[in-house]
C-alpha cells in the first residue's frame, strides 16, 4: 500500500514537471509581456516588477498601425465564422445528395473529392493566385484582397474533407426516416433541412472544430491572397507583418503573440471536451 502511494506521488511530480516544461513558452509569454524591452533582454525569466507594464504594452500593440489588433481579430472572426457556416451547410447538402443517389455521377464526384484530399496546398497556391487574378480582371468580381475571395477559397479547400466525413455519417442514418417524411408530403429540401440536418449535429461539431482551428490559424493562404500589407489582415498575418516591422522589439512582439493566443485559449477552456473529441475523430477518419 505504501509503495503504491509513493508511486502515485512520483507520478504526480513527473506530471507537474512535464506540464511545466510543456507550458513553459506560455508562462514565458505571460511573464515577458509585462516587461519593458530592456528588462526582457536582461532577465527574461524573472517575475515582472510591475504588472501594469502589460497594459502599457497591450495598448502600444493594439494601437499599432501594422498590427491593429481589433481589426485583425474581427477580420479573423468574420472570415472563420462565415467560412464555417458555408462549409458545414454546403458540405452536408453535397454529402447527402452524393450518399442518397447511387449513380455513376455521384460515385465519380465523391471519388474526385476524396482523391483531392491528397493535394497539398503548395501545388495549387501559385496557379490559384493567377486564376483568382484572372477572375477578378475578367468578371469584375474582386477575388484577391477581399472577404468573398478568401471565404470562397476556404469553402473549396475545406469542402472535400467535410464531405468525406459527413458522407460516412449520413450512410448510417436510416433511409426510412426520409421515406416517412416524403409520404407525409415533405419536399426533398424540406426533408434535408428539417430531418437530416438536425441529425448531423455530433459530426458537424467535428467539422466545425477541425475547419475552425485550421482557418483561424492558417497563414499561407491569407498571406498570399490578402497580402502582408493589404487592407484586410487576419491575426496570424498581422502578427507576421508586425514582427517583420519590429525585428528587435520583443516586448511588443510577445504582447502581440499573447493577444493572438488568448481568443483560442479561452475558447478551449470552455469547450475542451468537444475540441479534443472533434480533433481526434477527424484524425482517425
Amino acid at each position: 500500500m505504501k509503495g503504491r502511494k509513493t508511486k502515485l506521488l512520483i507520478g504526480e511530480i513527473i506530471g507537474i514537471i512535464l506540464a511545466l516544461v510543456i507550458l513553459f513558452p506560455f508562462i514565458l509569454v505571460i511573464l515577458d509581456s509585462a516587461k519593458t524591452s530592456a528588462d526582457i533582454v536582461i532577465s527574461p525569466l524573472s517575475i515582472p516588477g510591475k504588472w501594469g507594464q502589460m497594459l502599457v504594452n497591450f495598448n502600444n500593440v493594439i494601437h499599432n498601425d501594422s498590427f491593429n489588433y481589433w481589426k485583425s481579430f474581427f477580420n479573423s472572426l468574420f472570415i472563420t465564422v462565415i467560412s464555417l457556416t458555408l462549409v458545414s451547410t454546403l458540405a452536408a447538402m453535397t454529402a447527402w445528395v452524393l450518399c442518397r443517389n447511387k449513380t455513376k455521377w455521384s460515385g465519380f464526384i465523391f471519388m474526385l473529392l476524396v482523391a483531392a484530399m491528397v493535394i497539398p496546398f503548395q501545388v495549387v497556391m501559385l496557379p490559384l493566385l493567377s486564376t483568382f487574378r484572372n477572375i477578378s480582371e475578367f468578371f469584375g468580381i474582386q477575388m484577391l484582397q477581399s472577404y468573398q475571395g478568401i471565404i470562397f477559397a476556404y469553402v473549396g479547400f475545406g469542402g472535400s474533407m467535410s464531405v468525406f466525413i459527413l458522407h460516412g455519417f449520413i450512410k448510417g442514418i436510416p433511409k426510412e426516416l426520409e421515406e416517412a417524411a416524403w409520404i407525409d408530403g415533405c419536399s426533398p429540401e424540406g426533408t434535408f433541412f428539417r430531418i437530416i440536418f438536425p441529425l448531423l449535429k455530433p459530426v458537424q461539431m467535428t467539422i466545425l472544430i477541425l475547419n475552425g482551428i485550421w482557418i483561424w490559424n492558417d497563414y499561407l493562404l491569407p498571406s498570399l491572397m490578402l497580402g502582408l500589407n493589404g487592407k484586410i489582415k487576419t491575426l496570424p498575418v498581422a502578427v507576421s507583418a508586425f514582427v517583420g516591422s519590429y525585428v528587435k522589439q520583443w516586448d511588443l512582439i510577445l504582447s502581440a503573440a499573447f493577444l493572438a493566443m488568448i481568443p483560442i485559449v479561452i475558447l478551449f477552456l470552455f469547450a475542451q471536451k468537444q475540441i479534443i473529441n472533434g480533433i481526434v475523430d477527424g484524425a482517425i477518419k
Binding site: L8, G11, E12, G15, L18, A19, I22, L23, P44, L45, L90, M93, T94, V97, N101, L112, L113, A116, V118, I119, P120, Q122, V123, V124, M125, L126, P127, S130, T131, F138, F139, G140, I141, Q142, F152, A153, V155, G156, V163, P188, N217, Y219, L220, L224, V239, S240, L254, A257, A260, M261, I264, V265, F268, Q272, I275, I276, I279, V280, A283, I284
Partner: protein, 366 residues
C-alpha cells in the same frame, strides 16, 4: 354524411383549382426569373468580353446566377428532386473546381512551361524538372526535409505514446495534464514560431550564459525546429493514442494481471499489439504533417543559417514547402517553384496510397 362528403369534395375541387392557378402562376414566375437571370448573365458576360471596366458587371453576373438558381428552384416539375440534387451539389463543387481542381491541372501544365506567374510564352517540356534536380539548394532541401521528417516522426510518436501511457495511468488530475499537453497544438505555428525564436535567441543564451543562439548553427537550428515541432504535435498525437489505449478492454488487462503479467509485459504483449491500427494512423499522420511543415520553419529560422555545399551557399534549414515558397514568391521563379510543388505532390500521393494499401491489407487480416 352525404353532405359532408360533398362539401369535402367541393373544397377539394376548389383547392385543386386554386392549386392549378397557383401552379401556373408559379411556373410563369419561375420562367421569368430564369429568363431575367440568363439575360443578366449574358449582359455581364458581354461587358466582360467587350473589355468594359464597369465595376457593376461582377454584381450583375452574380445577381443573374442567383435569379436563375431561384427560378430553377421554384419551377414546379415532377423532377423537382433532380433539380434539388443539382442545386445542392453545385455551390460546393463549383468552389472546389475553381480553387482546387482547375489550379491543380493548370499547375501541372505550368510546370512544363516557362510560366512567370501571369503568363507563359514557351513550352519547355521536362526542362524545369531537369534543371531543378541539378540545383544544389533543391537537392539539399530534399535531403534535409527527409531527415527532418524521419526524426520528427520518430520523436513525436515516442513522446506522444509515453505521454499517452502517463495520461491513462492511475495518476490524479489526468484531465488537467491532457489539456496542458494538448494546448500547443491549438495555436498556430506562426505565432508559436516567433515565441520560440525569442526563446532560442534570448532565453537559452542567458540560461547557458555566453552561449551563441542555437539558431546560428546549421545542425543545432535543425534540432531547434525538431524540438518545437515535437513539442507542438506530441499533444495531438497523444490524444489519438489515449483514445486507442482506452479502447483496450479492461477485462483482458485484469486477466493478464491475474496470470501474473507485470506492467512491462502488459505493455508489450497486450497494449501495443492491440492498438497496432492506432500506430499506423499516427505514423502516417506525423509523416505527412512533418513533410508538409511550413509555419514553424518559416517563423523560427526562415531557412537560415546558410551553409556551404560544393562551393554553393545553401539555406541550411529550408524544408521543401518553404523552398517552394521562396523560389516562387521570393525569387520570382514561378515555373521552377511550381515544378518543385508537383514533385512535392507526387511524394505525398505515394505516401497516402501506401497508407491506404496498408490499412486495407490490415482490414482483410482482421
Amino acid at each position: 354524411m352525404n353532405v359532408n362528403i360533398k362539401s369535402y369534395d367541393n373544397t377539394y375541387k376548389l383547392n385543386s383549382g386554386r392549386k392549378s392557378v397557383n401552379a401556373n402562376m408559379k411556373r410563369l414566375l419561375s420562367c421569368v426569373l430564369i429568363l431575367v437571370g440568363i439575360v443578366a448573365m449574358v449582359f455581364a458576360l458581354y461587358l466582360d468580353i467587350a473589355g468594359s471596366k464597369n465595376t457593376m458587371r461582377g454584381n450583375i453576373l452574380i445577381l443573374g446566377a442567383l435569379l436563375t438558381i431561384l427560378g430553377a428552384y421554384s419551377f414546379p416539375t415532377r423532377k423537382h428532386r433532380m433539380v434539388i440534387n443539382v442545386l445542392f451539389i453545385f455551390p460546393l463543387l463549383f468552389a472546389f473546381l475553381v480553387t482546387v481542381l482547375i489550379p491543380f491541372v493548370c499547375g501541372v501544365f505550368y510546370s512544363l512551361t516557362n510560366w512567370n506567374g501571369i503568363k507563359f510564352t514557351e513550352f519547355v517540356g521536362l526542362g524545369n524538372y531537369i534543371s531543378m534536380f541539378k540545383s544544389n539548394d533543391y537537392v539539399y532541401s530534399f535531403v534535409v526535409t527527409f531527415i527532418f521528417t524521419v526524426i520528427n516522426m520518430f520523436l513525436v510518436n515516442v513522446v506522444a505514446f509515453a505521454l499517452a501511457l502517463f495520461c491513462t495511468s492511475k495518476v490524479k488530475g489526468k484531465n488537467f495534464y491532457r489539456a496542458a499537453f494538448f494546448i500547443p497544438n491549438l495555436i498556430g505555428g506562426i505565432v508559436l514560431g516567433y515565441v520560440w525564436q525569442f526563446i532560442f535567441n534570448k532565453v537559452f543564451t542567458i540560461v547557458v550564459s555566453g552561449s551563441a543562439s542555437m539558431l546560428t548553427n546549421p545542425n543545432l537550428a535543425l534540432l531547434a525546429i525538431l524540438m518545437v515541432s515535437t513539442w507542438q504535435y506530441a499533444g495531438y498525437i497523444m490524444m489519438i493514442y489515449v483514445t486507442g489505449l482506452q479502447n483496450v478492454p479492461s477485462d483482458i488487462m485484469e486477466a493478464s494481471g491475474v496470470d501474473g503479467a507485470n506492467e512491462l509485459v502488459k505493455l508489450f504483449k497486450i497494449k501495443i499489439p492491440m492498438i497496432a491500427n492506432t500506430f499506423t494512423v499516427c505514423i502516417f499522420l506525423t509523416l505527412v504533417n512533418s513533410f508538409k511543415q511550413f509555419d514553424l520553419n518559416y517563423a523560427i529560422t526562415n531557412g537560415a543559417p546558410s551553409r556551404m555545399l560544393n562551393g554553393d551557399v545553401v539555406q541550411s534549414t529550408e524544408f521543401l514547402a518553404l523552398n517552394i515558397y521562396n523560389t516562387a514568391i521570393g525569387k520570382n521563379q514561378y515555373a521552377i517553384g511550381q515544378t518543385k510543388a508537383v514533385i512535392f505532390f507526387i511524394i505525398l500521393a505515394i505516401v497516402s496510397l501506401t497508407q491506404v494499401y496498408i490499412s486495407k491489407k490490415k482490414e482483410v487480416e482482421v
